[in-house]
Structure formats: C-alpha cells, structure tokens
C-alpha cells in the first residue's frame, strides 16, 4: 500500500474546518476548545495561585485542597466526571463541548495555579525588602517589582503547560467531541487510510505547538532586555 496524498487533499477541508476550527455541523473543534480553555484556565490559575499564597486560612486551605485533589487524578477521569456524573446530578445531559471545556478549565487551573505560585516565589526576598524599605505600597511592589520578574520566570513553564493542554484536547474525542483527532478517526474509518490521516493531524498539532514555543521564546527575549548581551 503506497502513501495516498489524495485522501488528505479530499478530506483536508473537513479535518481543518470542522476538526481544527470547529466550523460545521458538529459542535467542537480543537481550537474552539483549546483557546477558551487556555484563557479561562489562566484566569482560574491566577486566582488559585494567589489564593494559595494568601495568609488567611479560609482562602489558603480551599486552594490547597483544590490544587492537590485535581493534580492527583488523571485528566480523563475529570472528563468522565463531567460526562457521566454531573448529568446524573443535574438531571439532564451536557453537550460534549461544554463537558470538555469545563473539565479542561478545572484541570488546567490547578496546574497553572502552581506555576503562578512558583513564579512569584522565585523572586528573591531582597527585592520585596528593597521595595518595602523605599516606602512603596503593596500594589506598586506587586506590579512594578514582583510581577514583571515573576511573569518572565513563569513563561517557559506556562507555555509548556499550554502546549500540553493543546495536545490533551485530543482526549475530548473519547467522549465523542468532534475535534481534530475525532475528525481524523471518522475519516480514516470511512476511507480505511489511518496512516495518512494520523500523520496529517500529527503535522497539524506539531505546527501549532512549535509556533507556540517560538512565540514564547520571542516573548521571553523581549521581556528580558537585561539578559541581552
């Protein structure tokens, strides 16, 4: 059996429009899932990270519990909770897309929260002391001294996490959401061309993740004028 380019060309529109972007008769789409999941996960992560560093126990402990619980279970289990359990509890089914989005945001929030916390804690104590000693307020210490350094330190870990999340969206195909992986599976079952299909989508995934790491690298360099020779 030789490599069949035509099966890729004839199905590219379905794979890219429906599978990747999410335009078509099925709800879904890898990008339509990944982009809001990354943005919302980031917001939840900032809140969790700051909450975990809070002194007040009623803010601190719920955040610790959340992060440690979620990080202790596989992502697929979280997806299954929302797919099988939550509909039973609320008494009606939830569309695949919303199940996947909720599960991803909840799952990613825990990891991103830890990255935010580690980033802020990576700023040496002396920075806060110097800023405090000069009479700056808490808000200025946070926004002018700590966060610019913390965010720069966080970029590599954050981008790795976003890349992992982007690839993990393929798990949504297990509950039947029409993403890139599910689209490739559908086509390959019809055309009996799994090799071409899965190779094609691997390239698509790779292009996106590689671009993400390039952009991150540029961002890191741009935020580090002091580290340029």
């Amino acid at each position: 059996m030789s490599f069949d380019w035509s099966v890729i060309f004839s199905n590219a529109k379905f794979l890219l429009l429906q599978g990747l972007v999410g335009i078509g008769v099925y709800g879904g789409g890898t990008l339509r899932l990944a982009i809001p999941a990354i943005l919302l996960g980031f917001v939840i992560g900032i809140i969790l990270g700051l909450a975990r560093m809070a002194n007040r126990p009623w803010i601190h402990y719920p955040a610790v519990l959340y992060i440690e619980l979620i990080r202790g279970v596989p992502l697929i289990i979280v997806i299954f909770w929302f797919w099988f359990l939550v509909p039973v509890i609320i008494g009606r089914p939830i569309p695949e897309y919303w199940v996947a989005l909720t599960a991803f945001v909840i799952f990613e929030g825990a990891y991103i929260g830890e990255i935010i916390r580690a980033g802020i804690q990576s700023v040496p104590k002396g920075q806060v002391e110097a800023a405090t000693a000069s009479g700056l307020s808490y808000a200025h210490i946070m926004f002018d001294v700590i966060l610019p350094q913390a965010i720069r330190n966080m970029i590599p870990a954050l981008v790795t996490q976003f890349i992992v999340l982007f690839k993990d969206t393929s798990l949504a195909s297990i509950i039947g959401m029409m993403d890139l992986t599910k689209a490739a599976q559908t086509v390959s079952e019809r055309e009996l061309r799994p090799f071409e299909m899965y190779l094609f989508i691997a390239v698509v995934y790779w292009i996106f993740t590689y671009s993400m790491s390039r952009v991150a690298h540029r961002l890191e360099v741009r935020m580090s004028p002091d580290r340029r020779p």
Binding site: E129, A130, A131, S134, G135, H140, Q149, D226, R227
Partner: protein, 242 residues
C-alpha cells in the same frame, strides 16, 4: 534622630535583641560590628520596620514606630537602606531603579525624578551607566546605584547592612569613598561593616554587639585603644590581624 528604648525581639524562641537602649543624634555616623548572628542586621532592620519588635519602643525622627497612627510608609521614605546583596531591580535600568520610589512615594514629576537621578549617578561616579541593567554592571557599580537609589528619596537617615561584604576587594574602596563623602556632607548613618579602616576614619561612634546585646558603644579612639569588654578585644584581635 533614632532612639531604642528597652527593645526586645525574638524569632520564635530565639531572643535576638536583648533590652536594647540606644540614642543616635543627627549627623552621627555609627558603625555596628560584631560576630555573625549577633543581631546587627536585625537591629537596623527594626528601624524601618522590616522586622517588628515584641516590646520596647523605637522612635525615629520624633515618631514612634509602634504608634497606632504612625504612617509607616511615610517613615520609610525618610530612611534609606543599602543591602549586602544590592537588591537592585534586575528588570529595570539603573536610572529606572532610582526613579521608581521618588515618583510613586514622593510624587515627584518624572522629569524632576530623572534630573535628580542623573545628578546622583554622577555623584556616585557612574554618570555613563544610566541605561545599563544591573546585570551589566560590576558589583561595585551596582552597589553605587543602590546607594543612589536610596539617596533619591532624600532620606534623613541612611542604613547600610554590610554594603561591601559581597564585593571583590578592588571594588570595596569605590563604595567606601561614596559613603565617606556622604558622611562628610552630614548624613545620619548607621553602617554595619567590618571595614575597620573606614570605621576609624569616618565614624563618630562604634557599637559592638554580641548575642543580641550592645557590649560596647564608644568613640573610635577609645574603641580601638581601650575596649572595655573581653569579647570586644577578642573580636578586634581576630579581624585586625587579617
């Protein structure tokens, strides 16, 4: 200018400042020395409340630090601090390091802060490094920027916590020279240092601390020639032979 009245401080069960009584007048240059762990850093960090005391009272520029109405931020603006590790903001240039607090705390206009900042960089001898980042400067240059940063707030008091201990020997003097000029201009200074030459030439008083207590509080002449305390003699014999 600065007064400690019966000050005690503990870190957990560790008693680090034991009944400290001390009064420092305007224009005095007080050198603090003593073995590692004796409480020197803690002593001066209490002055701008980087550390809190458990009992006693500290009065700075006529204001009690423990007063309920005390605006600690305002007080900190009057007290400049220079650290052993410089603690410059690595993501800001030398000039940006200097103008941050004057703009936000002193509410200076950016133009005025920049003007003062440039003058101070000239004063500490590195007028050509305005736009350098800390990582691009030598240790001695970084510490001079840190001094300029503290001076930009036009403080009434300057605190130095081992400002030359992290420097290569050939850079120590460029920092001590800046400090000497500052002392000659009449700045009230407390300096933790083991540079006994500097202490001898510049200070008006030398304090020796051990295990959280002030064991000696003397003029430099008496401190070096007739130390009262056995431990002071032992300490001096150790550091002066280097």
């Amino acid at each position: 200018m600065i007064e400690f009245r019966g000050v005690n401080k503990w870190f957990g069960s560790l008693h680090v400042l034991k009944d400290i009584n001390l009064a420092i007048k305007q224009r005095e240059v007080v050198v603090v020395c003593g073995p590692s762990g004796s409480g020197k850093s803690t002593l001066i960090r209490c002055i701008n409340r980087l550390e809190r005391i458990q009992n006693g009272e500290i009065i700075v520029d006529g204001i009690s630090l423990s007063g309920k109405k005390t605006d600690i931020t305002k007080l900190r603006a009057e007290v400049g601090m220079v650290f052993q590790q410089f603690n410059l903001y690595p993501h800001k240039t030398a000039l940006e390091n200097i103008i941050l607090a004057p703009i936000w705390v002193r509410k200076q206009s950016r133009a005025k802060a920049l003007k003062i900042g440039k003058d101070l960089m000239a004063k500490v001898g590195i007028p050509d490094k305005l736009d350098s980042y800390p990582a691009q400067l030598s240790g001695g240059q970084q510490q001079r920027v840190a001094i300029a940063r503290a001076l930009a707030m036009q403080p009434k008091i300057m605190l130095f916590d081992e400002p030359t201990s992290a420097l290569d020997p050939e850079m120590i003097n460029e920092v001590l020279d800046v400090m000497t000029n500052l002392a000659r201009e009449g700045m009230t200074m407390i300096v933790i240092t083991h540079e006994m030459g500097f202490a001898h030439r510049v200070s008006t008083r030398i304090i020796f601390m051990d295990e959280g207590q002030i064991l000696e509080d003397e003029s430099p002449e008496l401190f070096f020639t007739q130390p009262k305390n056995e431990r002071t003699r032992f300490f001096l014999s150790k550091i002066l032979t280097h």
